[in-house]
Symmetry: C2
């Protein structure tokens, strides 16, 4: 493997869409699911997974039985890519249609986390805030079945970019943006019909 | 580059979550944004982009000025990965929390499309259905500035998988699912305040 190509570390086009660390954190904190990509025997490989940012680390996890996770745990170079689509940009010509989005790429090598229980708890609370306080702690046998890894956010090893606003054309025709967002609907009960819905669930789904 | 590893072509864990071609098409038709991943000088590279399935092809496009797009247009192996998150699975133990999702990976080499104008029009209509009929056709100079590529969906070169349902535990505690979905809000007008909102926009955003 050669030296990492520098053009992977920066925007080479539409540099006006480049963002700062605040944008990186915003997207990492909002996207929830990211795409982890690596190279296996020269071939690209990519899977979606839940992740959470904790400070300067992106935390991912999975089963110790997952061969690909073992591959990236052993030091393969990875990218973690995530995005949020904020809207569709409708112009007067088909060519000028676009999408408003926020997107990030973090490059590096995954490292073991120092404290898997804390990392996995933080990951859970990222998905359903406050849920860890309502459940028993992760058991040692559960920890033993899990790989928890962190991707450090290092200077010069990430890109954040975004498109915002309208189509930017001058016309008397209608142009605009159709905003998009993700919503949570009312929870569906599977067990415990006589039990209260947990506060964390009510909070998220209201 | 060695022969493509066969484990990239099939699920090696949780094979009960494997899906058929109908699931593949469903996710490709719903996700709208996918992640295109490839290998550059031995390093992983991945970017989010709009895509559309047309029959047995996944269509992607971009500017002829985009270096990475030229890289994949020149025959590099790629993966196109896409997912939809359908809900959060809340269990009684932190460890058994999960997410309901549908995800796909299509592997292959991108090919030029035979008819870029048709492909780009189809891509636009995938994003805002019916919009192409309301605008003028793509101009020759616009076509010349655009690369349109197709990733063929070939037997044995894709994976679709999904998780559905509740946490699958027996307990008197409350467990359940918080459904998630993407919604479109009312359109924001940028130009043409005196013009009617196009039917395609009203239809999508209502």
């Amino acid at each position: 493997m050669s030296t990492e190509p520098q053009q992977l570390h920066r925007l080479t086009r539409k540099t006006d869409r480049g963002g700062d660390r605040a944008l990186l954190d915003e997207v990492l904190d909002e996207a929830m699911v990211g795409m982890l990509s690596t190279v296996v025997d020269g071939w690209p490989w990519s899977v979606p997974l839940l992740f959470a940012r904790i400070g300067d680390d992106v935390i991912v996890h999975g089963s110790t039985g997952a061969g690909m996770l073992r591959h990236v745990a052993a030091g393969a170079a990875v990218t973690l890519t995530a995005f949020v689509v904020d809207g569709l940009v409708v112009s007067d010509t088909l060519f000028d249609h676009s999408a408003n989005y926020r997107a990030v790429v973090v490059r590096g090598v995954l490292q073991p986390v120092d404290d898997p229980a804390t990392a996995l708890t933080a990951l859970s609370d990222r998905i359903v805030p406050g849920r860890s306080a309502e459940t028993t702690a992760i058991l040692p046998k559960e920890l033993a079945a899990t790989i928890a890894l962190r991707l450090p956010v290092e200077d010069g090893k990430w890109i954040a970019n975004a498109r915002t606003g309208g189509p930017g054309v001058e016309t008397d025709d209608w142009t605009g943006v159709i905003p998009m967002r993700t919503v949570y609907d009312s929870p569906i009960t599977y067990t415990g019909r006589d039990a209260d819905v947990p506060a964390s669930v009510s909070q998220l789904a209201r």
